[in-house]
């Protein structure tokens, strides 16, 4: 059709971490089709892992993602432990759980900040990134690093949590919770955000199941799955927590799930610190026998899946890795089509992909003439929020 225009977005995204190339086909304001091209950052990690020893592949998978640098190693360790049938010591299980939950908190805070920015709430962006600091500090205390923790190994963990650090961790956690209360109020009690995000980018329950969506994306569409509860690993069978679900499936529901999960994560960390007993942290396995194993872990964005096949040598024959965004990504076909361009930004950001939409984004018509520039999409999104604010009479 002649009045159709293509909006190419990407492939370089300076705001979030991974490059992708989006093609939005629009008719006027309305998105009628969407396609995505990935692979600009393909590093061949599955192939590379076949040339590494089992110990080295843990370090390798840690570098898949800077944010999920606890989930991938845990899933990989689980897969290798599944091959050997090793039991991980109790204390190591608790330490794994603590790193998982700290990771979840800091990842969700990152997302809340970015979502705020896309909507023109830059205060939320500043706050939530600032409130992430106590969590990164705790992470540094527990693992020695704010990111890329190098904490996990087959059979256990590398470092123990010192007893004198526990009170420090609890103090910082309290500090974080106080700030989160404020953040929660600012986001969930804001009438403008309700008006702006409700009913936008709805992923129905049926579509979420058909696409096998994962993590908060699925839970916001009333699909009650959580690897932590369903496939208990680490120490998740020893702690109590609620799996947060929402019925609506829109962008607001996804935000609610993530914000409420912050509290569950903090509660899990407290329970772990409380229940942890002194003991060994490493079962020191020797050889990896031939066989195949599967490991899963609940990363902030959903289930991480690792399949490892061993032939008895010291490196894997095959190492398949599936990150949660791989399953959540294609749901865009359901959520973006039919919405307006000003909503596309926040819908795409709502599954928390490694996505962003600045700088390289240009709207072209059939003659390849530039119509809209880079930051315009974020501006469109922010302007829509402003219109709603004006309607509500909020300055």
């Amino acid at each position: 059709m002649s009045d159709r225009a293509t909006i190419p977005i990407g492939p370089y995204h300076p705001l979030q971490e991974e490059p992708e190339f989006w093609k939005l086909i629009v008719e006027g304001e309305k998105v009628v089709d969407v396609d995505v091209r990935i692979g600009y950052n393909h590093r061949g990690i599955e192939k590379l892992s076949e040339s590494k020893s089992f110990d080295q592949s843990i370090f390798l998978v840690e570098r898949i993602c800077g944010i999920c640098s606890s989930s991938h190693p845990i899933a990989c360790c689980e897969a290798i432990e599944d091959i050997c049938g090793i039991e991980v010591p109790e204390r190591a299980r608790f330490i794994r759980t603590i790193t998982q939950e700290l990771e979840r908190i800091h990842s969700h805070l990152l997302w809340i900040g970015l979502a705020g920015h896309f909507l023109g709430y830059n205060t939320v962006f500043m706050w939530s990134w600032k409130y992430r600091e106590p969590i990164c500090d705790i992470m540094e205390t527990v693992t020695g690093n704010r990111q890329n923790y190098a904490m996990h190994k087959v059979g256990g963990v590398r470092r123990d949590i010192e007893r004198e650090h526990v009170s420090y961790i609890l103090t910082r956690l309290d500090e974080f919770l106080k700030q989160t209360d404020m953040l929660k109020g600012a986001v969930l009690d804001d009438p403008v955000l309700h008006a702006r995000l409700k009913g936008i980018g709805v992923l129905t329950r049926e579509a979420a199941i058909d696409y096998s969506a994962l993590g908060p994306t699925a839970r916001a569409s009333d699909v009650d799955i959580d690897v932590r509860r369903d496939h208990p690993y680490a120490a998740y069978d020893r702690v109590k927590f609620n799996v947060i679900t929402q019925k609506e499936g829109d962008v607001f529901a996804k935000a609610v799930v993530r914000i409420l999960e912050l509290y569950e994560s903090a509660s899990i960390i407290r329970q772990c610190l409380d229940k942890m007993q002194e003991g060994p942290i490493d079962s020191k396995p020797k050889d990896i026998p031939p066989g195949e194993g599967i490991g899963v872990a609940e990363a902030p964005r959903g289930e991480v899946f690792h399949y490892v096949k061993s032939d008895g040598t010291n490196s894997p024959v095959r190492h398949k890795i599936r990150a949660p965004t791989y399953m959540n990504f294609p749901t865009f076909r359901e959520t973006v089509i039919g919405e307006t361009v000003s909503d596309a930004t926040i819908i795409m950001a709502a599954i928390d992909p490694c996505y962003c939409c600045t700088e390289r984004m240009v709207v072209v018509d059939g003659s390849n003439k530039e119509l809209l520039k880079a930051q315009d999409l974020i501006r469109l999104s922010q302007e829509k929020t402003k219109k709603i604010r004006d309607k509500f009479g909020i300055k």
Binding site: E46, Y307, Y326
Partner: protein
């Protein structure tokens, strides 16, 4: 459903179309099938038993290209792996399961480009990860693919 319940249901339904089965632990079940039965068994697991499709893994093995379809039964935390071995390495092909679940859309494109497996009936065989100008007939996750050495004289 435990591993045993699941295995019993699958065996009752498919009988001798199941080549082998192995309940490795309380949470892991492996079932070997003929490639031609993949759509039927995927439909049974996904639609009738309500399992979630995790992902598929391709493996280049001595006997052929193996494709492992991993399904999760979340209420009891069991992972069922369905294995189909494509014996003809020169022309491996299997039916697409995107007709059963759209979640297999991307992974079939990926296995297609990385292992050279044809998914019969698939509507989308465009490359997912590799660049558009990747040479034809070169499949990087096959064992005979040698990672090219970088030429240090070029920057």
């Amino acid at each position: 459903m435990t591993v045993d319940n699941l295995l019993q249901k699958i065996s009752e339904r498919f009988g001798d179309r199941i080549l082998a089965s192995d309940a490795r632990s309380a949470k892991r079940l492996y079932v070997d099938i003929y490639p031609k039965d993949i759509v039927d068994i995927a439909r049974y697991l996904f639609k009738e038993l309500g399992l979630r499709f995790n992902i598929a893994s391709g493996v280049d093995d001595f006997d052929g290209i193996e494709i492992l379809y991993h399904f999760s039964y979340d209420p009891s935390g069991v992972i069922v792996t369905v294995r189909a071995i494509l014996k003809d390495k020169d022309n491996p092909h299997i039916d697409t399961i995107t007709t059963v679940t759209r979640s297999a859309w991307w992974i079939e494109r990926e296995i297609h480009e990385l292992f050279g497996v044809e998914f019969d009936g698939s509507e989308d065989t465009r490359p997912l990860l590799l660049p558009d100008d990747w040479p034809k007939g070169v499949w990087p996750l096959r064992k005979n693919f040698v990672v090219p050495k970088r030429d240090s004289r070029k920057s």
